[in-house]
Amino acid sequence: MPEFGEQLERLEAIVRKLEAEELDLDEALKLFEEGIERLRAAREQLTQAEGKVKKALKGDSSGR
């Protein structure tokens, strides 16, 4: 799954393109479908995520 930030960036680009540009109806439909899919994925990411602390590393090397 793409990173949330990238997902959102692409989504915004799609919306702007759809709003501003004179596209083929076909192309517009394709963009719309992609946008809807990304929107769904982004929502899912946000609503299903669990915050977690990864204790990736132990204390400092001095061992104190």
């Binding site: 919306v15 929107l39 609503t47 995520a49 915050g51 602390v53 204790k55 990736a56």
Partner: protein
């Protein structure tokens, strides 16, 4: 002439004092006669030994005294006093018997300048950081709007970690927190925090943001974050750093170098993350714009079809009217040729009951019934 010299006064049994006896006696006299006191003087000949003890002299225009400040006492100080600094020393006068040396055992040391040694060391380190461009506002990096992995450099069992975790879990749970444990106060804290910060640069952690800090503490406890070494380590971190040293009033060097200063670890966590609720609302707006975008695009197609239809209808209308005019012209000509016109001029047509035209005399014997068509109708007639 005074009293005769008493060669035996206060002498020991051997007839002369030993060196040790003199120094011990001197020490007793001095310690009894000079209780711990504040001394003011200028630091000179400073030397810090590997043991951690400091040796220096305090002097004024006319005299100087040897001083020692033991490690347990100097550890709380932000830095050694620079050569030539005028200080107040709280000290216990005594005699170092091994060398027969009069000296002060310094328990506390304050700069006579405003704010004391702390301030002095802070300003000195700050000036050094400034000189190296580390305090340049242009250095401040923008925080990632949607952080993915956040390193937290703090004590694993401090309140700071719990606060940060609670807030990020609520606001932005898709972020991962990576605890990089460090000792944030006491002996070795400076080295520990520096080592933890250096880990962030190693890439394996793959974080896009770091929070470094601790909960509140006394000025002395916060000293770790006023260390020039820690400040430089913060500046060297390759991702944006939020400093959260947990002190509303004191701005530390770490705060100054960091990309963002937060007053508390909680505030740092808030600054680090967007609120999920807001982002969901924004996603909703994007969804609406997406739908509107498409429907507007579709509407443009419909409009174009309508316009085409209108032009078609317009064209049809024109053709229709043309045809109608033509028809009128034709019908006028037709009209001119119509037999009814002949009738109108006074002619009449005779037809039998079957509608056949009776054109000859022989078709009209006497007594024959026929129909006579005149211009405005038909009448029945009979030949006489």
């Amino acid at each position: 002439m005074g009293a005769p010299l008493d060669l035996f006064a206060a002498a020991s049994s051997e007839g002369a004092w030993t060196v040790s006896e003199v120094t011990r006696r001197a020490r007793a006299v001095i310690e009894a006669g000079l209780p711990p006191l504040w001394v003011r003087g200028e630091v000179t000949g400073f030397k810090a030994w590997r043991s951690g003890h400091w040796y220096f002299s305090l002097r004024d225009k006319f005299s100087q005294i040897r001083c020692v400040m033991f490690r347990d006492d100097n550890r709380r100080l932000p830095s050694p006093p620079p050569e030539g600094t005028e200080v107040f020393a709280f000290a216990r006068p005594g005699v170092y018997e091994a060398k027969g040396e009069f000296s002060l055992t310094v328990k506390e040391l304050l700069s006579t300048e405003q704010g004391g040694l702390w301030k002095l060391a802070f300003e000195k380190a700050k000036a050094a950081l400034l000189k190296d461009g580390l305090l340049d506002p242009a250095r401040k990096r923008r925080l990632p709007p949607f952080p993915r992995r956040i390193a937290v450099v703090t004590s694993p069992d401090g309140a700071a970690l719990r606060d940060i975790e609670a807030i990020i879990t609520r606001r932005w749970p898709i972020a991962e927190l990576v605890l990089v444990a460090a000792k944030v106060q006491g002996e070795g804290a400076e080295a520990s925090v520096c080592a933890a910060l250096a880990r962030l640069g190693k890439g394996k952690l793959d974080v896009d943001l770091a929070i470094v800090g601790r909960g509140g503490g006394s000025a002395e406890d916060l000293w770790t974050f006023n260390s020039e070494r820690v400040a430089r380590a913060v500046a060297a971190v390759p991702v944006p750093v939020i400093s959260a040293v947990g002190h509303e009033t004191d701005v530390t060097l770490c705060d100054l170098v960091a990309d963002l200063r937060a007053a508390t670890p909680s505030a740092a966590a808030e600054a680090a993350t967007p609120d999920r609720v807001d982002v969901l609302a924004f996603l909703g707006q994007l969804g609406e714009r997406l739908a509107r975008g498409l429907s507007q695009r579709a509407q443009r197609t419909v409009d174009r079809l309508d316009r085409t239809g209108d032009r078609l209808a317009g064209a049809m209308q024109f053709r229709l009217e043309q045809s109608r005019a033509l028809l009128t012209a034709h019908s006028a000509r037709l009209d001119a040729l119509s037999p009814l016109k002949v009738l109108a001029r006074g002619y009449a047509v005779a037809r039998d009951e079957k509608g056949r035209v009776l054109k000859q005399v022989k078709q009209l014997p006497a007594g024959r019934d026929f129909k006579l068509r005149v211009t405005d109708g038909e009448v029945d007639a009979r030949v006489r």
